[in-house]
Each structure stands twice: as C-alpha cells, then as structure tokens.
Subunit: 121 residues, 2 copies
C-alpha cells in the first residue's frame, strides 16, 4: 500500500499575469450550476463584491462577456454564463481532465516507483 | 499572436498532507547545487531554521534521510543530498519534466484553440 497521490494546479498566464485558473474557472462553474452569483460566491466563501470583481477581471483578461444577468422575474433574477463563457469553461474543463490523466500517468511512470521503493526500504 | 501560456504546480499528498511539492523539492535541488543549506535557504528567502525544518519535514514524510552534513574542514562544512535524496529529486524532476510536456500538449489540444478564437473575435 502506497497512499501517495499526485496533484496539480493549473493556470494560464499572459504577460506574467494570471488570466485563468482552476479557482477562477470554479467560480464560473458554480455560476453555471446555481444561476446565481450570490450562491457561487457563498460556496467559495467570497463576498459578493469580490466574486463579481473576479468575474469582471476574467472578462477583461479574455476580452469577452462571460456572464449575463437577468433582473427580476419570479425567481428574483439570475446570472448565467454567456455562450462564450460556457465554451471557455468547457474548454478549460477538457484541459483539466486531460491533465488529470497525464498527472497520474507521469506519476506512475516517474515518481511512484521511487516513492514505493522507499516504503519497501 | 496568442501570448497565453499554461502553467502547472505539482505536489504529492498522503492522507491529505502535502509530502512533496515543487517548492520543497526546489530546496533540495538548491542544497545539491550549493552544498550549503544556508545558501539554499538564502536563495529561497527562507530563514536557515525554517529551511532546516522543511528538510526535516520532508525526511519524516518520506521516512528517509535526504541530506547529510559534514562539519568543519577547509570549507567550513557542507550539506549534501544522500544517495536516496538524489534519487528522489531526480525522480521528481522526471515527473515535472513529463508533466511540462503534457501541460503544453493538453493546452494546445483543448484550451488554446478556444482562447485563440476569442482573440480573433
């Protein structure tokens, strides 16, 4: 039994600035799931104001509106992703998914055996 | 022109605790390069005490001595990696190297095209 597990955190930079990251994309995923910026912010333990700031920052970094808000109605309004926002989130998820597989493979090929050898020592 | 670059940070956990990480392995690499814990700590802007604590923590996590110190002599003593320490650092470097390639490939396959499409939009 080994018990060691490899992990990776991903992000995308441009000119040395973080433009997308697991954390930022998580916020968009939660908006998509809950249709509510307040609920998404709450889940991530961010203030509404700070969550909104993160979304605006992402939109500025990518030069595209990623969320759209509907005011009022029976449910009291909602925030959802734009089609571009969904596309970007899906592309990022595919990137994450592929990397998860790669991390496991690279670990099994390179580091796992060395750590297991220690265990046996 | 795109300008987006993907990045990843790696670490290994056991029972929810970080046992190895890019940061911790960097400290071992610097010890190997400089043969000095003080120099390695300085480069990483850590106190000597804190750097020593990190090394001891790593040794405890892996159940192996990773560094050895020689006291005195013309150079005033030195700290180097044990053979096991070198082996682990090399295995971790191979893990990192393989992942670096995988990150670039996954980005080019999954996320890069979506971000480039935004640019063109």
């Amino acid at each position: 039994m080994d018990g060691f597990t490899p992990h990776a955190k991903l992000w995308v930079e441009r000119d040395g600035q973080i433009v997308m990251s697991d954390y930022r994309v998580r916020l968009l995923q939660l908006i998509h799931e809950t249709r509510s910026l307040a609920a998404a912010a709450n889940t991530m333990e961010l203030s509404y104001r700070r969550a909104w700031g993160k979304v605006k920052e992402l939109e500025e970094n990518l030069g595209q509106p990623l969320v759209e808000s509907e005011v009022g109605g029976a449910g009291g309004g909602s925030t959802t992703l734009t089609p571009k926002g969904r596309e970007i989130v899906e592309a990022y998820e595919a990137f994450q998914q592929r990397l998860r597989t790669a991390v496991d493979e690279a670990y099994a090929a390179e580091l796992g055996p060395a750590l297991q050898a220690l265990e046996g020592a």
